[in-house]
Symmetry: C2
Subunit: 342 residues, 2 copies
């Protein structure tokens, strides 16, 4: 039996709304913000959109609503031959979350000599984007100051300073590091060292703070060393000096999995068995850690939840004009594997 | 002494052109396509742009020229917890190359149920983007067929079928694999196995073809095995079966570094020393290979050159209406490290 409903080009959003017994806004949400609808509503509306052959005019809708359906993400400069190993997964999660809401992600890089703020200003002036997603947010971040000052929608992965809008999402790094120290202390470790990178970036400070907080809880003194840079050779050399000391640590918490790879190489060079002679832990759960022998104990970032929360908060600001008033801390997940020993 | 030149808001592109003794187009190029100018010209024009305080009206210029200065890149769907390890470096190289030319990269992901072609169609209809950069191009790629049919600017990382415009850039994978076989054959290896993933993607086929071509040159029979998937456990199990055979290969070329990590784990489990008992080689030169013990012989992709050529070709099409008539093959670089032995 054929349904005598209108089909194709002439079908309007009202036709779909009437057939589904929902409001125009609900049909719009099914297309643009499906996460706002109950699964059964979404399915009914989506089925009718397909049955009726409704095709929204994206261009006209954007003009009407004043949105481009584009979120700008100013990407930190990096080295293609040795990129931040978290970036691929983070971007994938952000693109997927934005795509579900009908938005695309614009990767923004100032050209030579142009400062970050100027690049944001140009995008706003040209009405190219609806809002900004910032990452690698510094305590005193010029981009946050600029966007907050203009009242332009943004959300930050990483805490913003208290005088700025608290529209951010971050990982509860301090708690994750406390959990990691608890794990090692419970296994009997007393001489636990922390291997940091030399940077004073906020997230590196949080990992260091969490390590020291965890050590204090157990009445332990935490030794810290810093790798001078990202160079594998330098990381290995710094760690070998630590492991070669007369009274060496029995456990090393590396501030990142990348650094933990250096600890593996240094331990092998010093003839120490990881998991038995030396417990090792990292941070980030990079995919490569599954191939390490033994596999690495680490902290997994909930990338899909982080990206979902970032996009959701930003779209609340863009579409509803509602800016969240408090940051959102998401728990990292301790992933216990053989490198941390019994 | 003060220069009595106009400054700030009132300054036009003609003022800059006159002061620099160049054409309007040259000033425009300095801002939008600096790579087209000689270094000295670029410096003279840039200095005057700053001295005079000229600020191009990006919005107005985009409307005039009809360009948005946005390149769309439809990103392949991926797993945030285990993303394609090349993607971060590739994206970084593309964003940097586009940024230098004053373009941003729009990451495009069709929302649920929407097909790729429809997503491209919407972006074109909404005049959101100036052209497309495609990667992971299949032999019979619907996106290429669609864009070629519409005559809309695009460039592909990966070869397009012969009936389509040959506006692509690719790595000469076949030659790189022949070079790799030459290296191992010169070291005396006769039983060389190839570890592929199970996929029949074009680039995996090229690696396989190159391996077999290299083996034929030396009158050798190339054994191939396939890992059933990307799961580390399955890769290791498949490789252990190969290494456990009565007459085992003395060298394994893995079609990717990711697979080579599995060969390392399998060799350790079988009690074989890599570099002495078993030569191992990979493909892609992922950053992690520098931490492996021994370090991995592999093929490095020239990511910056690839990205630069892609952006340059696409902008020729967008800005000058000139579509390159032949693909560009770039050489991969053999990186010889201890894993392949003497």
């Amino acid at each position: 039996m054929e349904t005598h409903r209108p089909r194709g080009r002439g079908v309007t959003i009202e036709d779909v709304a009437r057939a589904a017994g929902v409001s125009r806004q609900t049909v719009s949400n099914a297309l643009n913000a499906p996460y706002r609808l109950k699964a059964e509503t979404l399915e009914r509306v989506t089925t009718l959109i397909e049955e009726l052959g409704y095709r929204p005019d994206q261009s006209a809708r954007s003009l009407r609503s004043g949105t481009r359906r584009i979120i700008a993400y100013p990407t930190p400069e990096d080295d293609p031959a040795n990129p931040n190993p978290l970036m691929g997964g983070f971007l994938e999660a952000v693109v997927a979350a934005a795509g579900e809401a009908g938005y695309h992600i614009l990767l923004v890089r100032p050209h030579s000599g142009q400062d970050q703020t100027r690049a944001l200003e140009e995008l706003i002036a040209a009405r190219t984007v609806d809002g900004f997603l910032l990452s690698d947010v510094l305590h005193d971040d010029a981009r946050v100051t600029y966007l907050a000052g203009r009242g332009f929608p943004f959300v930050a992965f990483g805490r913003t300073a208290s005088e700025h809008p608290q529209n951010w999402v971050d990982v509860d790094t301090v708690q994750a590091m406390i959990d990691m120290v608890d794990l090692l202390a419970a296994a009997g470790h007393r001489r636990i060292a922390f291997l940091a990178s030399s940077s004073r970036l906020p997230w590196m400070d949080h990992r260091r703070d969490g390590f020291q907080a965890g050590m204090r809880r157990h009445g332990l003194h935490g030794q810290e060393i810093s790798a001078p840079g990202d160079d594998p050779g330098e990381i290995v050399a710094a760690t070998r000096r630590l492991l070669g000391e007369r009274v060496r640590p029995t456990a090393v918490i590396a501030a990142g999995d990348w650094l933990a790879l250096g600890v593996y190489a240094a331990a092998r060079a010093e003839g120490l068995d990881i998991g038995t002679d030396l417990a090792v832990a990292g941070f980030n759960d990079l995919p490569v850690t599954a191939f390490l022998q033994p596999a690495l104990t680490t902290v997994r970032l909930p990338l899909r939840r982080i990206a979902g929360a970032l996009v959701d908060r930003l779209l609340q600001t863009i579409e509803d004009g509602v800016t969240p008033q408090a940051g959102l801390l998401l728990a990292g997940e301790l992933v216990v594997r053989p490198s941390s020993g019994g």
